[in-house]
């Protein structure tokens, strides 16, 4: 059964309500709620600036008659003692035959503003309108609604009109019992004519005319194609904006609505396409995309072609087929140029730019040669284009990209801030809703500056304030970042709980699922490394082998974790070669400066681990200087720590101590406990070194040595504390060992024995826990 194009029982009811409004039945206080109720069901969903927040509150198109009661019951009408609902229901039940329905529509013209001819004719006929009669302008929303309804009704074939009538009857049916006032009206049954003929329900005549009303599914009756359009548009909007999938129950509903009607709307293919895409169902996504654009072609909307290509390119890239993706996007760009579609052109260029940055390796492999020259030039070009065509969305995104570029190349932080604030200003002025990416960038910026607190605050801001409007992708990233920050301070369980709290429905999208899976795995991996649970580490490393479709950032973090595991397990040559190759790769791909610095630091760290710290001097120094220039504070502190270690190694304890004194407070503030522990351990080493330099022969020297040893012990305790909190077993044990040695040094054998016992106990406890975990 075909669904109606536009008219539904709800629309008829709304017409009745408009009639009431025009007759000034509601009191003036009730006018605004009633009008907004009517309009909320008529005005298209496309979110303009003013309504963007409102459109999030989505109006159900198939609303039941109950909705009218909810709105109308509370308002008094100008007739004393009656609510608007009473009058409304009365009018509804006065439509007591098919003919009355026709009359309703043919009399709609009376509500419109009189034209001059009308006025003349009426004056001639002596028609006098009541003073409080409201006439609707033809172009007002209500006027347009009325005219559209009238037109659509005229277009209806007779049997379609009948279908509408039956739908209206079943829609109205529940109201018969609502008030006593309409009882006499409702008692005549659905049709006054039938009642006049003395027919009741179950008489054969009644059965022929209205018998089919009984078992019919109401939902399919009350949705028109127009409503469907609105609904699918909303779905698309959600899909595109949030990047999520169609929820299960919604999907079921859509299927029941669309299924029996046999009407296939173009948008439904698009919805299916997005859904399949997000579900990671590559083939059906392609299938649906092609189907959608085939139908779009049919309606001679040639304009869609470049968008089809654009979608295809994005889809290909998403599934890791970069070669095809490049081909598609190139064609998109050409077509968009041909068709002078600046919007599409600029968007595709921007997307291409994004792609080259995100997957440089893969693109190179796919044979892509930069189209926009250098990255910076590309961004400048896009920026000017966006300004020219007033594409604020693109402009904002480009500004953020520039800021990112600044960060990645280690340029001045103030400039990055400047770009970001420009984007933010644009965001507020033009309401382009790029809060998600902006917040994330800001959070990154602050975490690079080592102000973790503000960084996490930004993530939470995104999660709390822009949850409704930010894409799910960005929300997940924010959650992931929060989880990493938590894991840094040793709150692994909190971090994991945070990731687990992501609603299950998000996992239905393959990309998101992979991201979350990797995040969770990474945190677990880090914990396992610290706990020296090598079985688990091997397991996790096997599972988390990144491929081309993984987020590049995560890929790097995973490699880092792999390195640290290698180093910890003493597989130094392997670690060294991995570092070398990775560093080369990063250099080739012109990677983020943070990653490159981190490689340098790891290298220096490796030298330190193999007991050859001095060899890492130049590396550490370079890392420190780059990190300082680029204001990569955490890296800087790490590098400084390593430098101090080197200084310790060559006996420059005082200098090392000074360096460490300078960075430890900041790093404490930063909250990365593992870093703090390392720094404290170095500090302790340095104190011990100082103590060793002190001349024990002089009383002063002895005192100073005692002070230094105490200091060392104090630092060891601090380090141990930190290690304990991040569950770094080796670190903790090392500190316990050191404590035991210190006690021995002091000659307190018993204490030394105690510390040794403690060491063993801790170690064994850790082993046991691993055993439990394995079991």
């Amino acid at each position: 059964m075909a669904i109606s194009r536009y008219l539904t029982p709800q629309k008829i009811s709304l017409l009745v309500l408009v009639n009431l409004y025009c007759d000034s039945v509601p009191t003036s206080s009730a006018t605004i709620p009633i009008l907004s109720f009517i309009l909320s069901h008529l005005v298209p969903l496309v979110s303009s600036n003013a309504r963007s927040t409102h459109s999030a509150v989505y109006q159900n198109v198939g609303f039941s008659i109950q909705a009218f009661e909810d709105v109308l019951l509370g308002h008094a009408s100008t007739m004393p003692g009656r609510t608007v609902l009473d009058v409304f229901l009365r009018r509804m039940w006065e439509i007591n035959s098919f003919d009355a329905l026709h009359d309703l529509f043919s009399n709609l013209g009376e509500l419109l503003m009189r034209t001059r001819e009308d006025a003349e004719r009426e004056a001639a006929a002596g028609v006098v309108h009541p003073v409080d009669q409201i006439f609707l302008s033809r172009t007002s929303p209500l006027g347009a609604f009325i005219r559209r309804a009238r037109l659509e009704f005229t277009r209806l074939q007779f049997h379609d009109a009948m279908k509408l009538w039956s739908a209206f009857i079943s829609y109205r049916a529940p109201t018969a019992q609502w008030t006593r006032r309409i009882a006499p009206l409702a008692s005549t049954g659905v049709d006054a004519i039938v009642a006049d003929m003395g027919m009741k329900e179950n008489d054969p005549l009644f059965e022929v005319a209205y018998g089919h009303l009984e078992g019919e599914d109401i939902t399919e009756q009350v949705i028109s194609a127009d409503d469907f359009d609105r609904m699918l548009e909303f779905q698309l909007d959600q899909l595109q904006r949030l990047g999520c999938r169609v929820p299960d129950e919604m999907r079921k509903q859509l299927r029941t609505m669309l299924g029996p009607s046999g009407v296939v709307l173009r948008q439904s293919h698009l919805v299916k396409f997005f859904d399949a895409w997000k579900a990671g169902d590559y083939t059906s996504a392609f299938d649906n995309l092609h189907r959608y654009y085939d139908y779009a072609m049919q309606t001679r909307e040639k304009i869609h072609y470049q968008y089809a290509l654009l979608h295809m390119a994005i889809l290909q890239a998403d599934f890791g087929c970069f070669g095809e993706s490049i081909a598609a996007i190139n064609e998109t760009i050409t077509t968009a140029r041909e068709n002078q579609d600046m919007t599409c052109l600029n968007f595709s260029l921007s997307w291409l730019n994004h792609l080259t940055k995100a997957y440089p390796k893969e693109l190179k492999r796919a044979g892509y040669i930069g189209m926009l020259g250098s990255e910076r030039e590309g961004l400048l070009f896009l920026k000017s284009k966006a300004k020219e065509t007033k594409m604020y969305n693109l402009l904002g995104a480009t500004l953020l990209n520039e800021a990112k570029l600044c960060l990645a190349t280690g340029e001045s932080i103030p400039r990055a801030f400047e770009y970001m604030y420009q984007a933010s200003h644009l965001n507020i002025r033009e309401n382009i809703n790029i809060y998600g990416s902006q917040m994330l960038l800001e959070s990154t910026l602050y975490s690079r500056l080592g102000i973790v607190h503000i960084s996490s605050v930004h993530c939470e801001l995104l999660l709390h304030c822009y949850k409704g409007s930010a894409p799910i992708d960005e929300q997940i990233r924010a959650i992931g970042r929060c989880a990493f920050i938590a894991s840094q301070s040793g709150r692994y369980d909190d971090a994991l709980a945070l990731l687990e709290s992501i609603p299950l429905s998000t996992h239905r999208s393959l990309k998101f699922h992979q991201y979350i899976y990797h995040c969770t795995g990474l945190i677990k991996l880090r914990r396992a490394i610290r706990r020296t649970n090598w079985a688990a580490v091997d397991q996790l490393l096997l599972k988390l082998t990144p491929d081309s479709s993984t987020d590049p950032e995560l890929t790097f973090l995973l490699t880092e974790a792999r390195l640290s595991s290698l180093i910890q397990r003493g597989r130094h040559p392997e670690a060294f070669s991995l570092i070398e190759s990775l560093a080369q790769e990063l250099k080739d791909t012109n990677a983020d400066i943070l990653q490159r610095v981190s490689m340098l630091i790891t290298k220096a760290n490796l030298f330190a681990k193999v007991g050859n710290a001095e060899r890492g001097f130049s590396v550490a120094l370079r890392a420190a200087s780059i990190a300082f220039k680029a204001r990569l504070m955490p890296s800087l502190w790490q590098a400084i720590g390593l430098l101090a270690n080197i200084l310790n190694a060559i006996g420059e304890f005082a200098a090392a101590g000074k360096l460490l004194d300078a960075v430890i407070p900041q790093s404490l503030e930063h909250g990365d406990l593992s870093l703090c522990a390392t720094l404290y351990a170095f500090q302790a080493d340095c104190s011990m070194g100082l103590a060793g330099q002190d001349d024990p022969s002089t009383s002063n020297g002895q005192r100073r040595r005692a002070v230094n040893v105490n200091k060392a012990e104090y630092y060891i305790d601090r380090a141990r504390e930190c290690y304990k909190r991040v569950e770094d077993i080796e670190g903790e044990c090392e500190q316990l060992c050191k404590k035991a040695i210190l006690a021995k040094l002091r000659g307190d054998e018993q204490l030394a024995e105690e510390w040794a016992q403690n060491y063993l106990a801790t170690w064994n406890a850790a082993r046991e826990r691993i055993g439990e975990e394995v079991v």
Partner: protein, 662 residues
């Protein structure tokens, strides 16, 4: 009229046999008709309706077949021989594979359509078939006939009928769009020639073959002849057919469509068999001829006594009321029919006409709804819907639905007529004329189409042309004042005033014939609710005007007075209506015009007093006030002057004479 139990059983058997025989020959409508009639018989004692069919009491035989009808042994034998082939042919027919059905029994080398399609097939049939047989392959034609010879009449009928239907179908398909270039008369049923040739041979051979005619082939031959406009011969064959097999309603219906006037009916009547079917035929035909006399009603009552629940007969009753413009009664009958059989769509188009005229729009909407629910692709349904839209003044949509009705059945009479009305409303006179013309071609007895044609030509200012059509309409409805008024008006327009006056007087007579008229399907409600003895003032006024044109002022004035008199109605006594209730029509524009005319007339005659009275009445009624006031002023002036004249006669006598000289 009541039947004995035996007769009743006999009738039952006959009808049952008719239903079966018609079904066997794929005459579905006739079968339906017979079966409906069969079930509307009151259940008699013999059929044992109390015992269940499956109960051990019944002896395995269907209860309603008390005794079988005797069969023709030759036919029975032939039928038995070809029963398998017959079954095949019947199923093909039921699957609407008409050509295939025909091919089961007939060889494929039948002579095909005549060379000149526009010529009337009836006259050409013989020559064409013979010519072909002579010129072409005589042996083959012979062979064809011989192969036919060996068939039972049932199979032959089925085969030829299938051929006929196939031809009709193709004809409709070739006609393409309704009112398109190919529609109407251009295409013909090309199978008619072949069928006619075979049947002709068959009938010439019949007396020598020793076979008994069964009536079915005669019926088919009649149809073919009627299609060829050879009506006398067709009538003859139909009469033969109903003699041989009276229970084939289709034959009666065809016969009825050939009867154009009451005289013809009376002419045909003696040659018909004497049985109940003839009786029903008489009623039906009279209804079709708008003869709703007391006698017909009585006859109908009698037949209804036998078939108390027959929807067909009830419909006839309703239509009779409809023809006499007793809409309430007709509406009531239809309404009850609807309640008893809600799925019935037959004749609902007539019902919708009634509702249209009565202006019962909600009920019409409901009827349309009901019909559409049952079957939206029936011509009747489309007509009902079209009527509804017409009543809502949505003429385009109405035309669309009438068109759809015609696409479903090109011979659906009321749709043609109603579509004509719609075209008139849409000022598309040419289309209207074509529609009406087609309606008349389908059924020459449709007075509404004739009247519509006349009206349309009047719109085109072709009055003498219109006159012809109005006369046809008036001939069909001699007791409808509206028709006569139209005739009179046309006469007036072509300056035949005396004829016009005569026509108007007929209208007056016809108007007084009906007790209560209520307008017609043209929606104009003039003259509605005229009580007994009231003459239509409009007619009177028109007569007066015509007399005025003939310069017969006395007659004219008399008719004007008469017009005026209708305001009051007749004197009490003769038509003693309710006391206190006004009997007349009251003040209408027509009577006011008559009053104004009279006032002027009296003024001209110098009867100022009466002129004054009339003019003042006009002012009181508030009609034509301006003219009346002017008249009053004139009268006053004249009266004043006359007074002055009277007074100053003597004084001014001399001076006037002087002035006259000067």
């Amino acid at each position: 009229m009541s039947l004995s139990a035996h007769d009743l059983v006999q009738l039952q058997t006959q009808l049952q046999d008719a239903a079966i025989s018609c079904t066997e020959r794929c005459l579905y409508q006739s079968a339906k008709w017979a079966a409906e009639l069969l079930t509307s018989l009151p259940s008699s004692e013999t059929d044992g309706s109390d015992t269940e069919v499956n109960s051990p009491m019944s002896d395995g035989r269907p209860p309603q077949t008390p005794d079988r009808l005797p069969k023709d042994p030759i036919e029975t034998r032939l039928e038995a021989c070809e029963s398998h082939k017959y079954l095949l042919a019947k199923t093909y027919f039921d699957c609407r594979e008409y050509d295939r059905c025909a091919a089961v029994f007939l060889p494929s080398t039948l002579p095909k359509g005549s060379i000149i399609p526009s010529s009337s097939p009836s006259t050409k049939t013989k020559t064409a078939a013979k010519g072909k047989a002579k010129a072409g392959t005589p042996s083959k034609a012979k062979l064809t006939f011989e192969s036919v010879q060996g068939l039972s009449q049932k199979s032959l009928f089925l085969a030829l009928y299938a051929k006929y239907i196939a031809g009709e179908k193709r004809k409709d398909e070739d006609s393409e769009m309704i009112l398109g270039p190919q529609d109407g008369g251009v295409t013909t049923n090309k199978e008619l020639v072949g069928i006619s040739a075979i049947l002709e041979e068959w009938f010439t051979y019949l007396p020598t073959s020793g076979r008994q005619p069964q009536g079915w082939l005669e019926y088919l031959y009649g149809i073919v002849l009627a299609k060829g406009k050879n009506e006398a011969a067709a009538t003859e064959y139909f009469i033969q057919s109903v003699h041989q097999y009276p229970y084939n309603w289709g034959a009666w219906q065809e016969l009825s469509s050939l009867v154009g006037t009451v005289e013809e009916l009376n002419h045909v009547a003696p040659s018909l068999p004497q049985n109940i079917m003839t009786y029903i035929f008489h009623i039906y035909t009279s209804q079709e001829l708008y003869q709703s006399t007391e006698q017909i009603h009585n006859q109908l009552n009698q037949v209804l006594g036998i078939f108390p629940t027959s929807t067909f007969l009830k419909t006839q009753r309703a239509l009779l009321y409809y023809h006499t413009k007793d809409f309430d009664e007709a509406e009531c009958i239809f309404s009850n029919l609807l309640i008893t059989d809600p799925h019935r769509i037959d004749s609902l188009d007539n019902y919708s006409n009634i509702l249209y005229v009565m202006g019962m729009r909600p009920k019409l909407a409901f009827l349309a709804q009901l019909a559409t629910t049952t079957d939206k692709f029936r011509p009747e349904t489309c007509c009902v819907v079209g009527n509804y839209y017409s009543l809502k003044s949505e003429h385009e949509k109405a035309v669309m639905y009438f068109r759809r009705a015609l696409t479903l059945d090109r011979n659906f009479l009321s749709a043609w007529t109603l579509m004509g009305h719609e075209f008139v409303e849409m000022k598309n006179t040419h289309a209207a004329i074509e529609s009406y013309r087609r309606a008349v071609d389908v059924n020459r007895k449709d007075y509404r189409a004739w009247y519509g044609l006349g009206q349309t030509y009047e719109v085109l200012e072709m009055h003498s042309y219109a006159l012809f059509y109005h006369q046809r309409a008036a001939a069909l409805r001699p007791y409808d004042p509206k028709m006569w008024m139209a005739v009179g008006q046309c006469f007036g327009k072509v300056n035949k005033c005396m004829n016009g006056i005569r026509a108007y007087k007929r209208a007056l007579v016809a108007g007084s014939y009906y007790d209560a008229g209520a307008g017609s399907s043209f929606g104009s409600q003039e003259g509605a609710g005229l009580g007994g003895g009231i003459l239509d003032p409009e007619v009177l006024y028109q007569i007066a005007l015509l007399y005025e044109r003939l310069n017969d002022m006395q007659e004219c004035a008399a008719y004007m007075e008469l017009t005026l008199a209708q305001e009051e109605g007749p004197e009490d006594g003769e038509y003693s209506g309710m006391p206190g209730e006004p009997m007349g029509v009251g003040v209408t524009p027509t009577t006011s015009k008559a009053r104004l005319w009279l006032a002027r007339w009296e003024y001209m005659r110098g009867m100022f007093q009466r002129a004054m009275e009339l003019a003042n009445e006009l002012c009181q009624d508030g009609v034509e006030v301006e003219d009346a006031k002017a008249l009053v002023r004139d009268i006053r002036a004249r009266i004043e002057r006359e007074k002055d004249d009277g007074r100053s006669d003597a004084v001014t006598d001399g001076s006037r004479r002087v002035r006259n000289r000067g």
